[in-house]
């Protein structure tokens, strides 16, 4: 561990010395994450697992403002903990509304329960308002400045508490408590895994089509806490969050050539994925974060390599005169889906993690590009090129192909942590304007994500711990 850290520092120093341009495109580093501590565990029995989406799409959920025991000042909100409780309820309402499965009613059109009513809801009153589900909660500020947020889900008709949980967060992380509460409600009502408390790395784009500025940027799953990580003097592309959110792999032209860098979020420093004169592209993490896949062109021909995340010797996984590029691990790390034009056009292939048993899986006409294995393991999302670009999914053997989007150029899918939603970027014909969109696995609930400027190459990270 110490040796590895020392080695990383040494290689960083070496890299910095040999490439003085390194730091020139980087913004100030992000503040370190502080942990979210769970203080109460769920008490409700998980006996109701609803699988028919139509059955829960019309559930009316009331989400009144979270109560506070006493008004206190907090860095999280200029107007104190009471106003913060309303903001938390607004964030939860927006989360549940935006994924299209629920019809929540938020705090701005609801009465506010007193602190004492959070654990003893006025079922009769809520039933009279037509609410089937009720989310109540509280926020209190501790003397150390940290916030305690409690979250309760009630079934109004059954007059029963379904689930409850609480979290202690730094004031700056108050939105994470709102996302944790959203995840708790979503999981309890759908039987699906959570996804709201997660982050997205992407490329922010500005400027005309022939002089496009492309910057590395990050944001929460709902677009909040947006930050630019590079300044834009060098083109940045194709980021990937590490599974523990401590690093981002991405491509930068900062030294004039396309090369993959490992950006350390805490320190704001970056190192080359491999010291090499050849261009490196298409970085990917293994699910355990211990390995990095990248593609490297040698004398013009691109193949896929694997290298330990701590550095060392790269192992060549493909060896083919065609272009082999990208790659996405199965969740258990045993297999990799990648794209290759060895057959004459871009198609998707699966191989073992050591490069053995390479086998084409896409045979449905058109081309198969940018395959991404679902975190659930059962599906592969990809860019289907058949004239236009569309986001499609297939099973891991290449069967049951389904096209989910109908844009002119919908490219580079990335999975939500729970494997239920796919984000991608859509480019407009002629203008080249781009934006991040999402769609669910049924092809429904397509929507554009709010970003401060144009956006491409979304990379959805895992659920945060």
């Amino acid at each position: 561990m110490k040796a590895a850290a020392m080695k990383a520092i040494v290689s960083l120093l070496l890299a910095t010395a040999s490439h003085p341009a390194f730091a020139q495109d980087l913004s100030a580093p992000l503040p370190e994450d502080s942990p979210v501590e769970t203080v109460e565990s769920a008490a409700g029995e998980r006996d109701i697992v609803i699988t028919d989406e139509a059955a829960w799409s019309d559930i009316g959920i009331a989400i009144p403002a979270f109560a506070t025991d006493r008004e206190r000042a907090t860095p999280a909100n200029a107007d104190g903990t009471g106003a913060l409780g309303r903001e938390i309820a607004r964030v939860i309402t927006a989360n549940l509304r935006n994924n299209g499965l629920f019809k929540p009613v938020g705090p701005d059109s609801l009465p506010q329960p007193a602190f004492s009513a959070v654990r003893a809801p006025a079922y009769g009153a809520w039933s009279g308002q037509g609410a089937e589900m009720l989310v109540q909660g509280y926020v209190t500020a501790r003397d150390d400045g940290r916030l305690v947020v409690g979250c309760y889900l009630y079934d109004v008709a059954l007059q029963q508490q379904l689930v409850k949980e609480g979290w202690v967060v730094a004031a700056a992380d108050w939105r994470r408590a709102a996302h944790k509460c959203s995840d708790l409600i979503f999981s309890r009502l759908t039987g699906e895994s959570p996804f709201f408390d997660s982050r997205i790395a992407y490329i922010a784009e500005t400027g005309p089509k022939d002089r496009r500025v492309k910057r590395l940027a990050v944001m929460d799953s709902d677009g909040a806490n947006h930050r630019f990580l590079t300044l834009g003097s060098a083109t940045a592309l194709t980021p990937r969050y590490s599974p523990d959110y401590s690093k981002i792999l991405y491509l930068s032209y900062v030294d004039g050539n396309p090369r993959i860098y490992v950006y350390d979020i805490g320190s704001g420093k970056q190192t080359l994925v491999t010291e090499n004169r050849n261009p490196t592209i298409a970085p990917r993490w293994s699910p355990d974060g211990k390995h990095i896949l990248f593609s490297m062109a040698v004398a013009g021909n691109t193949d896929i390599y694997r290298i330990p995340a701590t550095g060392g010797t790269a192992l060549k996984l493909t060896d083919n005169p065609g272009i082999d590029v990208g790659g996405s691990y199965s969740p258990d790390g045993s297999k990799i889906v990648f794209e290759s034009d060895r057959s004459g056009s871009q198609q998707c292939y699966v191989m073992d993690a050591d490069g053995k048993n390479q086998k084409r899986i896409s045979f449905f006409g058109g081309r198969c590009a940018t395959p991404e294995w679902s975190p659930r393991g059962d599906q592969i999302a990809f860019t289907r090129i058949a004239g236009d670009f569309n986001v499609a999914v297939m099973n891991t053997g290449g069967g049951n192909m389904r096209v989910l989007t109908r844009g002119w150029q919908d490219e580079a899918p990335t999975w939500a942590p729970n494997g239920r939603i796919i984000q991608f970027f859509r480019t407009e014909k002629n203008s080249g304007r781009s934006g991040i969109w999402q769609v669910d696995l049924t092809g429904q609930n397509e929507r554009r994500l709010p970003t401060p400027v144009d956006a491409s190459d979304p990379a959805w990270g895992p659920i945060r711990r």
Binding site: P279, S295, A297, A369, I385
Partner: protein, 173 residues
């Protein structure tokens, strides 16, 4: 010393340019070189005047539109017209052996981002290999791919795509 050969090659590259329309649709906009007054090959001085040796302007003055070669969709092979343009380039670089240069490989917007960087890399390296086969020292040639990130023609149609599938030799000062 090689003025006669240079003239022939310039003629060859000019005819290569005219024949370029085979690769691009009929509605291809005029090549940038044709929008500026260009002396006919027969009246053009073999030794460029105006721009300084070692600049892109001097190179472009000498070889005209042959600074750039164009590719079919998803292809990276050097065809006969590309060969004529690269011969003009090789002639120029033989005459100015002190010059180093970069070949920038590009793709049109109809491929995915990562694949297109790999494809631009193949195109630039194909051009490099051809120049090396004509006697240009490989150490003088740097290669970089921009994939679809730096189009020169901005529309989303066949004519624009044909202009963007290219490998451009560039002298960077």
């Amino acid at each position: 010393m090689n003025t006669k050969l240079a003239t022939i090659l310039l003629l060859a590259s000019a005819s290569g340019l005219a024949a370029c329309s085979k690769k691009a649709p009929d509605d291809l906009p005029p090549d940038p070189i044709q929008t500026t007054p260009t002396p006919t090959p027969t009246s053009r001085p073999v030794t460029p005047t105006g721009a300084a040796v070692g600049t892109q302007a001097h190179f472009a003055q000498a070889v005209g539109s042959s600074t750039t070669i164009y590719f079919e969709t998803d292809r990276y092979n050097v065809d006969t017209q590309d060969a004529a343009a690269l011969q003009a380039q090789a002639q120029y670089f033989a005459r100015y052996p002190q010059i180093t240069f970069t070949i920038e490989g590009h793709a049109d917007e109809r491929g995915t981002r990562e694949y297109n960087i790999a494809l631009g890399e193949k195109r630039a390296n194909a051009a490099k290999a051809y120049l090396v086969s004509l006697g240009v020292d490989a150490n003088r040639i740097a290669v970089v791919s921009y994939g679809k990130e730096r189009p020169v023609a901005l529309a989303s149609n066949e004519a624009a795509w044909a202009q963007n599938r290219r490998a451009a030799s560039v002298i960077i000062n």
